[in-house]
């Protein structure tokens, strides 16, 4: 992994963006890496846009400030594009993973994605509704996160998810991670 990999998670209050950021970091730590996760602090309200951050590195992470130029953004709710500038500060040749029912080309055209961004799309909402019966997409997006970055192994994420959601819920969420991992497709960027 190059020096430091920074991810910004975009979601709405109650959708689990903060939990997703945390679980991605638990997994990295379990694999012996250095990692850091934190929400953008503030009163979260259900439905209101929220942001969470996670950093990954092979060396101890000293910085404790917000992330302004992420290497990757993960958008748990496609309606955020309308009012939130989710792309702000995304590095050239960065990665964007979006939960959407639309094909990648639509997203690129509609939200004029720059060519040098590697875009991953997955219908995480569909996966969540099929498996969890609820539109909670945070665990599914962890599957896409693994596929997009390879920072952690899929198995580690699944173990972390199973520990967080015990019993049947753990199994279901693990399944959501796998399906999203398989169904995420990438386009654009140098990938």
């Amino acid at each position: 992994m190059k020096e430091m990999f920074e991810v910004r998670w975009h979601g709405r209050g109650g959708q689990g963006a903060v939990t997703a950021a945390e679980l991605s970091v638990y997994a990295a730590i379990e694999e012996g890496k250095y990692a850091q996760a934190f929400p953008s602090f503030g009163p979260e309200r259900r439905g209101a846009p929220v942001v969470a951050f996670s950093r990954f590195s092979d060396k101890p992470i000293l910085i404790r400030s917000d992330i302004y130029n992420p290497d990757m953004i993960i958008v748990l709710d496609p309606t955020l594009f309308k009012n939130v500038n989710v792309m702000e500060g995304l590095k050239a040749n960065g990665i964007a993973v979006v939960n959407t029912s639309k094909p990648a080309e639509d997203i690129i055209k509609r939200y004029n994605f720059p060519g040098n961004i590697k875009l991953g799309v997955v219908n995480a909402t569909r996966i969540a509704m099929d498996i969890l019966r609820m539109p909670i997409v945070n665990t599914a997006m962890l599957g896409s996160f693994v596929k997009a970055t390879g920072i952690v192994k899929l198995e580690t994420i699944i173990n972390v998810v199973k520990r967080r959601f015990r019993g049947a819920a753990g199994e279901k969420n693990a399944e959501a991670v796998r399906r999203a991992y398989n169904e995420t497709v990438f386009v654009g960027g140098d990938g």
Partner: protein, 306 residues
């Protein structure tokens, strides 16, 4: 009770609590605030202590308040309101303000009223300041993430009355703010619910008009805090009254009258079932709640259970 508002059509159109606030979808506090302000009109000054309402209604640079409003701290709404009332009184006497009535109104949460704010509430009531104190009772500290307050009901889950093998949620009964206020022998005390808008508005108008302190406690279900579906927040507020858990009454100069009759009480289970915070209740905990509610209901002369 003289009804100022006899039907929904008589509810004034003018809005004094403006949309664009950051309350969760389905939050009932904005409903209570909007209705109370419609009942008393624009000539008022509002004080709120720290709490959900204060946070979601005034994120700089936005404010949802179309009336003068201030927030000072968590435990002093009663005292700040006392200061405002005193200033208005002396300035009218000195002719520096016109002699029209300006209602001093407090909108506070349950914690801000009967836990951390109890002392300043008691001081204000005992000194007899002319104010309307509205406690929006969502039964926990919701803004900080659903922590238990004295007003949290028996058995309820919160993040600080956790449900575990040893302790099944809150073990104490709900601290009754209305009774505490009534113990100050103030001219007007009432309980209300967002599910009964006209009852709420009539009480707010009467409380504001009466000279001296008036206290109204409004049950305000909270979607994330009570673990209910957003569309059920009014339904739950109604069931609380229909089961006798939250009887609606008013105490005017000491005499109590039930304002929303409940001829045929429903089982408490119908109310509890809709709420995730009660999801862990055992049979005998529900029985314990039911028998306590039955006892209180008899005292108030509410109808028997179906």
């Amino acid at each position: 009770m003289a009804a100022y508002f006899k039907n929904l059509k008589e509810i004034p159109e003018e809005e004094y609590f403006i949309h664009g606030h950051r309350a969760c979808a389905g939050c009932t506090e904005p409903i209570a605030v909007k209705l109370v302000l419609k009942a008393i009109g624009k000539d008022c000054i509002v004080v709120s202590p720290t709490g959900c309402l204060e946070v979601f209604s005034t994120p700089y640079p936005y404010t949802s308040w179309a009336v003068p409003w201030c927030h000072v701290a968590f435990e002093n709404a009663g005292a700040v309101a006392s200061g405002i009332e005193a200033a208005l009184k002396v300035y009218k006497r000195k002719g520096k303000l016109p002699d029209k009535k300006v209602h001093v109104v407090v909108f506070a949460g349950d914690g801000g009223t009967i836990d951390i704010g109890l002392q300043s509430l008691s001081g204000a009531l005992e000194r007899g300041h002319d104010m309307l104190y509205v406690c929006l009772d969502n039964e926990a500290y919701m803004n900080t993430g659903i922590q238990r307050s004295g007003s949290t009901p028996y058995g309820a889950w919160t993040t600080t009355s956790a449900v575990g093998k040893v302790i099944p949620g809150k073990i104490q009964w709900k601290k009754d703010g209305a009774k505490i206020a009534a113990a100050h022998d103030i001219p007007y005390v009432a309980t209300a619910s967002v599910a009964y808008p006209l009852d709420l508005m009539n009480k707010a108008r009467k409380g504001a008009e009466i000279d001296g302190p008036a206290y109204i406690q409004v049950l305000c279900p909270c979607v994330p805090g009570w673990r209910i579906r957003p569309e059920h927040s009014i339904k739950v507020a109604r069931l609380a009254v229909q089961t006798g858990i939250y009887p609606l009454y008013e105490i005017e100069n000491g005499s109590l009258t039930v304002t929303v009759k409940v001829p045929q009480r429903k089982n408490v289970e119908e109310y509890l079932r809709l709420q995730g915070r009660f999801g862990h209740l055992t049979e005998d905990m529900i029985k314990k709640i039911q028998s306590r509610v039955d006892m209180e209901a008899e005292k108030l002369g509410l109808g028997p259970r179906k």
